[in-house]
Amino acid sequence: MTRPRLRLVGGVCAGFAEHTGVPLATVRLVTVLLSLCGGFGALLYAWLWATVPSGAAAADPLPKSSLARPSAVRPQPAVSSPVAAPGAWPQGSAGGNHRADRWPGNGADPASPVTPNRQADSARAAPVTEILLGLALLAAGSALVASRLGADIPLAVVVPAIVVLAGTALAWRQFADIRSGAAQQSSALLVRILGALVLVAVGILLFFVTGTNPNAWTVILAAASVLLGVAVVTAPWLLRLWSDLADERAARARESERADIAAHLHDSVLQTLALIQQKAGPHSDAARLARAQERELREWLFTGSRSGSAEPATDLATTLHRIAGEIEEDFAVHFEVVTVGTGVGVRSAASPEMNTSNTDAPESLVAAAREAMLNAARHAGGAVSVYLETGARGIELSVTDRGPGFRVDQIPEDRLGVRESILGRMRRAGGTASVRPGPGGAGTEILLTLPAATTAPATDEHHTETSVR
């Protein structure tokens, strides 16, 4: 026989019912009746509770969770009932737990779990609750039996003891809930904790108030007891605070470790990749691979620190870096992207309502820049400088290569790459584009400018992009 996880108080009745095949309601009824007959049932119940092992966490949901009462009010009867009716056992003592409705008939349908996981956690995490409640029940039961047998029971001691045990159990339960992270309404939780604490304090005080003639020692003892009781009850909470602090420290240590690793990667791996690129020459596959790896690593290393600024997906500078990376993967080219000025978003032509800021760069600028960079990669290769400046004057973007160079008027009429994808696009976006020889007469410099005042919508037409030149 085991006590199932599916239980109301100790699971004794349920375990017995399961073991014998007798209906659960009948077992419970008999138990209650036996308890009323001189407390025999209660004593048996307590004894079985203490001796019968708890069953393994079964797959079935816990019955306490089936109690269709809001969790916040469950334990409330506990505060008063044991004090008010110490003789009305077992209901009174059991009320110290939130499984208050243990008597048959009030047992709710086990098929409607509310929060089984939380309950399971708290049940596992706090066997203390069961032990304390068991002790309270035992005390109450033996006191009752003893009084029936005619013994002189010092109720002045027994009643407070039961109250203290039940109160501690209740408090422990609440703290276990806190510890297991089962967040509830904090106000309700506070009320319950306070109730539990008051219960403990009252119980301890009762020892002395109802005891013999009070003297100085009694008072001191009472005060010490109250303090001790509160300390015991709040210990789990303090423990939790402490462990939280330790967790936080550990998290910080992990974070700094991550930063250390990042710094190490940054130095050693990036350097190696840079070295490979140097040795292998700009046009080799090895250099291209190393460059791609370097870019990925850089992204991984620096996105964390940059994430504070605007969303990366729509930032113009980030977009340029991404485009550079994509092109570098396909061509033997290295883009030195330098961005200066305030961050500027990218206004999507497809959904202009998403970014309403007038300072945002239209998508056509990005497309034109991409085309210019692609041109440089295709026809020049090597090192290409991309410079983006965003400021009060607007947006200025230049792509400078050191290739053979070309002139717009030399491009055949049927080649639309530069004429349409770059010049036309910028014109329609309200900006300008110029293609001119690079510095010192070598290579090509494509300069895209977009005045700040431009609020013209980016009406980028759907034309077919043809290869340049």
Partner: protein, 232 residues
């Protein structure tokens, strides 16, 4: 930069036996790679891997140019900037050229403010590093496009802030802004000169002036970076 020129003139060995440099980097693979790639007229006096080692070597060897990694272990955790601060007073003829793989502005600003005469990325080829080292040895400042970009940002040049007088440390003059802008675009000094129709020497003067401002300015953005790195 006449004082620097005269100082190199007082060292006849520098002219006859090539440029004496010290390579400081904590990665031996990079040191040996760089050593092999440097031009023939550059004499590598030695290598150092940590801050303490670098300080000792700089003071002992008195190289003309130190190729200095920004991130270095040892010392008080100050990296390349710490090397410059500690070694520079006891090696008056030594100039520092910072090398880094870093993209971070504070890394750049920290070494420049400590006194480095230039900053280039490690992806530069051996010839480029050699050229930069020669340039530094001649007293010029060496700006990579990225450093020029940082400067434009840090001095608010993009926002249209322009210095009224050349003495103003917190802002760039219109001409300096133009020069920086072209360098950021990847132009060489010579190309900047021909584009702006000025002499190459004038470009160098502008760049040196910008470097001085970068080192001396108390501009908010610069000091913020410096404060973050506990440099002030």
């Amino acid at each position: 930069m006449t004082d620097l020129d005269s100082s190199s003139a007082t060292e006849p060995s520098a002219a006859s036996a090539g440029l004496r440099v010290l390579i400081v980097d904590d990665h031996s693979i990079f040191r040996s790679g760089l050593r092999a790639e440097l031009d023939d007229d550059i004499v590598v006096l030695g290598e150092a891997a940590t801050v303490d080692e670098a300080i000792t070597r700089v003071i002992d060897l008195q190289p003309r140019v130190v190729l200095l990694d920004v991130h270095l272990p040892g010392g008080h955790g100050g990296g390349g900037a710490e090397v410059i601060r500690e070694a520079a007073p006891r090696a008056p003829h030594t100039l520092f050229l910072a090398l880094s793989v870093s993209d971070a502005a504070d890394d750049v600003v920290s070494v420049i403010r400590a006194g480095a005469r230039g900053y280039i990325t490690k992806s530069a080829s051996g010839a480029e590093v050699s050229e930069a080292a020669r340039r530094v040895a001649e007293g010029d400042a060496v700006f990579s496009p990225r450093l020029a970009g940082f400067v434009l940002d840090a001095f608010g040049a993009v926002a249209g802030e322009t210095a009224e007088t050349t003495e103003e440390l917190d802002r760039l003059s219109a001409r300096e802004t133009e020069v920086m802008r072209l360098i950021a675009r990847g132009y060489s000094y010579k190309e900047v000169a021909s584009t702006l129709f000025i002499a190459a020497k004038t470009v160098e003067t502008h760049v040196s002036a910008v470097l001085r401002k970068l080192q001396l300015s108390s501009r908010h953005e610069l000091t913020a970076w410096a404060l973050e790195r506990k440099l002030l």
